[in-house]
Amino acid sequence: MSLDDLDRRILDAAQSAFPLESRPFAALARRLGSTEHEVLSRLRGLRESGLIRELGPVFDLRRLGYTSTLCAARVAEPFIDPVAQLLDTMDEVTHNYLRDDPFNMWFTVIAPSPERIESILARIRSADGVGEVLSLPVERTFKINVQFDIAKDAP
């Protein structure tokens, strides 16, 4: 899809520090020299087109008592789709990517306890075509930055 200048400015402005006030889209519109109606209809369009997943908070999962880990699995080629489908049904699996390595499936698991993560991994390990599965939890975070400069990066 093509973004016009206002789309980009709205996305830029709404990436972080979204207004915590009664009419946040009106506040955003004031900042952008637009109207509440226009900002809302643009955001709805961007969500419908799939460019925006949601608008909301990104929580520090540890603060909510959750724990997470990055996992790497060796999955035999013919079983990639069924294993991907299994992971897709699991709420606790949030990201899953194929990568060019013998450990070809990389996914993250987020759950309220390490025991819960272990039981999810046990289910995945028992699926057909799944070989070794590594769990590689974070020991230290040096940087998390999920913001992009939309105005510059967008095609």
């Binding site: 996305l11 709404a14 997943r53 008592g65 990201h95």
Partner: protein, 165 residues
């Protein structure tokens, strides 16, 4: 860890799907939960202030924005040099995430840096720069060939029956 009252757990649960795109989204949430809008706004603000909320805004599908190559570089770094190596990585804007992770006998890498660039070649060039600067030679870059799933975690959702602890 942030202490949560039952209504706060419900609020987080309601936010799993994001804010409604309506004129008064917080009032709509408040009506659903049977709490005051002002109370919700104050709580969200306090969570932003204390870091319980890391960021409040749109969650994008990055792949669609022309951020073409996304390489996961993994490095085998001796413990004593982790700090210095991580510093070389984090000061680069192309490195969006950098973590120390527990290695494994089948996977010796302990330092991870996500590198974004216009293409794979650019990502390789950045990694080689880092390697030179930090004096490291044991690293690899894994590019994703397919995104199979990406979505926000669902906190206190029904399938996590034991999540209320």
């Amino acid at each position: 860890m942030t202490r949560l009252d039952p209504w706060e757990t419900e609020l987080i649960q309601a936010l799993n799907d994001g804010l409604p795109l309506t004129e008064r989204p917080y009032a709509d949430l408040a009506a659903r939960l049977g709490v005051d809008e002002a109370k919700i706004l104050a709580r969200l603000q306090s969570w932003v202030d204390d870091g319980t909320i890391r960021r409040f805004g749109v969650r994008l599908k990055h792949r669609r924005l022309g951020i073409a190559a996304n390489g996961m570089s993994v490095w085998d770094v001796p413990d004593a040099r982790v700090e210095e190596a991580a510093a070389c990585m984090t000061r680069r804007p192309e490195v969006t995430h950098c973590y120390l992770r527990t290695p494994h006998p089948s996977w010796p890498y302990n330092l991870y840096a996500m590198i974004h660039g216009p293409d794979e070649q650019a990502v390789h060039a950045i990694a080689e720069d880092i390697a030179r600067e930090a004096g490291l030679d044991s690293f690899r870059i894994l590019f994703s060939t397919r995104e199979l799933k990406k979505r926000a975690p669902r906190y206190f959702a029904d399938s996590n029956g034991d999540a209320d602890a």
